[in-house]
């Protein structure tokens, strides 16, 4: 199949007119029903205002950029808005920074053997876990370049950063940056999958060049469950924890893998964004987070 044939099929898949009309009608019906529901709910809310105000049911990361001229900014704000059942917002802000790294840091994608190697490459201290599973080529180093060829972001990805108590681990590591490392394992009691890691370093530049627009949106929590704000005592920063239903944490060669419940954590430390996800409980994730250090 050619790419253009594939795209042509979707071009022809238009919504039939009758379906279009029925969807609009359905939305209007829902709108009318919702209005009544809202009125009824208002009465209940009066009695339950205090309880509802502390019931956080979802969090949305809605970051805003500190300044419009992005390449001159040194900081940006990631604003996480947790909203309650009655729509009240509770804001949590995390300061991100556009950082300076070694001028000769790699501008091409590659694989690295440990976070220490990445630290040397970037000239920046990074958070590490003493339980990290390190093997040759375990970390993917992604260098994002602007159209003018300037490095504006570096991502470090390790899909099996911590293995916990998973058993019968068998890995296959590839040196080519395009090749995704593979892992086979059996679930442990605490870790039903490894915890994967993504570190995002956004870079500053003194050059007056156009960077791709960063809208600050790196994750959307509005559909997640059990969203909590957790203070990592060891680091003195707040992390957003949530539970995500996903099948895409490890290398799912079996495409029919069942959906699993995974703990997801995101926080910013010294301007760098850290994200971790794994099929573990939120308590296990908290223990993992407390073990992170430079």
């Amino acid at each position: 199949m050619k790419l253009e044939d594939y795209q042509e099929i979707y071009k022809k898949m238009e919504m039939p007119k009758k379906m279009d009309e029925r969807i609009r009608e359905g939305i209007m019906e829902k709108e009318n029903g919702k209005r009544k529901e809202v009125n009824k709910k208002t009465l209940v809310q009066t009695a339950c205002a205090v309880a509802a105000a502390i019931m956080v049911v979802g969090v949305l990361q809605a970051p805003s950029i500190a300044t419009a001229s992005r390449q001159l900014a040194e900081q940006f704000t990631n604003k996480f808005t947790a909203y309650t059942e009655d729509g009240e917002d509770v804001d949590i802000e995390m300061k991100g920074e556009y950082l300076k790294i070694n001028a000769n840091a790699k501008k091409t994608n590659c694989k690295m053997d440990s976070l220490k190697t990445a630290e040397k490459e970037l000239g920046l201290p990074l958070l590490k876990s003493k339980d990290a599973y390190e093997e040759k080529n375990c970390i993917a180093y992604n260098a994002l370049l602007s159209e003018s060829g300037e490095l504006y972001q570096v991502e470090l990805i390790d899909d099996f950063y911590v293995l916990g108590d998973i058993k019968d681990v068998n890995t296959e590591m590839f040196s080519q940056p395009d090749d995704v490392n593979d892992i086979r394992f059996h679930e442990g009691k605490e870790y039903r999958s490894p915890i994967c890691m993504e570190i995002v370093v956004r870079l500053n530049s003194n050059e007056d060049v156009e960077h791709p627009e960063y809208d600050g949106v790196t994750a959307d929590f509005s559909e997640d469950k059990d969203v909590n704000v957790y203070e990592i005592k060891n680091l003195g920063v707040k992390a957003v924890l949530s539970t995500v239903e996903t099948a895409g944490v490890w290398w799912d060669y079996d495409l029919n893998t069942v959906m699993r419940s995974c703990a997801y954590a995101v926080f910013v430390y010294k301007g760098i964004e850290y994200r971790y996800m794994g099929a573990v409980s939120q308590d296990t994730m908290k223990t993992f987070l407390e073990g992170l250090a430079e």
Partner: protein, 173 residues
């Protein structure tokens, strides 16, 4: 509770995203009635439960994710698991497709769900692997693997120019 949108604003958003969301929902449930239900729910959710969006792109990704989640939830229902009615769909849905295109559509719809949605977002909507990972709440590497498998299953041969463009989108050059 979100304030009621103006009719003008609703019309703008509906027109802008209806085809995208139709493609996504239909790719999952593969039938007309369920696609309608999912789109109604997705737009209703946008009307009443959408957060404050910082950009149009943010809004678009939110709508994609909501539609994906609604589609998955729909498929989880016991009586929907095996309800696949692809036969004669192009005709009943008034799509002007040749026999060859209908056969290609069958191949695309026969892909595993995970491959199909990742391929659509990448090869049709132009999202990078990173962006797809954020939308689908999976890892970037998982998206790369799904694209690789999808290409293999469709025997999709990309010419050099297309390969370079895809590598650029994937953040690999």
């Amino acid at each position: 509770m979100k304030h009621k949108m103006s009719t003008q604003k609703f019309e703008y958003v509906y027109q802008k995203y209806k085809t995208l969301l139709f493609h996504i929902a239909f790719s999952y449930v593969k039938n007309r009635e369920d696609t309608e239900d999912i789109l109604q729910d997705a737009f209703a959710k946008w009307l009443y439960h959408a957060p404050e969006f910082k950009s149009e792109e943010h809004e678009k990704r939110w709508l994609i994710r909501v539609t994906v989640n609604l589609s998955k939830k729909h498929l989880k229902l016991f009586w929907n698991r095996n309800k696949v009615t692809m036969e004669e769909l192009p005709e009943t849905l008034e799509w002007n497709m040749s026999r060859t295109e209908i056969n290609l559509l069958d191949e695309v719809m026969a892909l595993p769900d995970k491959c199909r949605i990742s391929m659509y977002l990448h090869y049709y909507e132009g999202y990078t692997c990173r962006e797809i990972a954020n939308i689908l709440k999976c890892t970037e590497s998982a998206v790369k693997m799904r694209l690789q498998k999808g290409r293999k299953l469709l025997k999709m041969n990309l010419c050099e120019g297309e390969q370079n463009e895809i590598r650029r989108l994937s953040g690999n050059i």
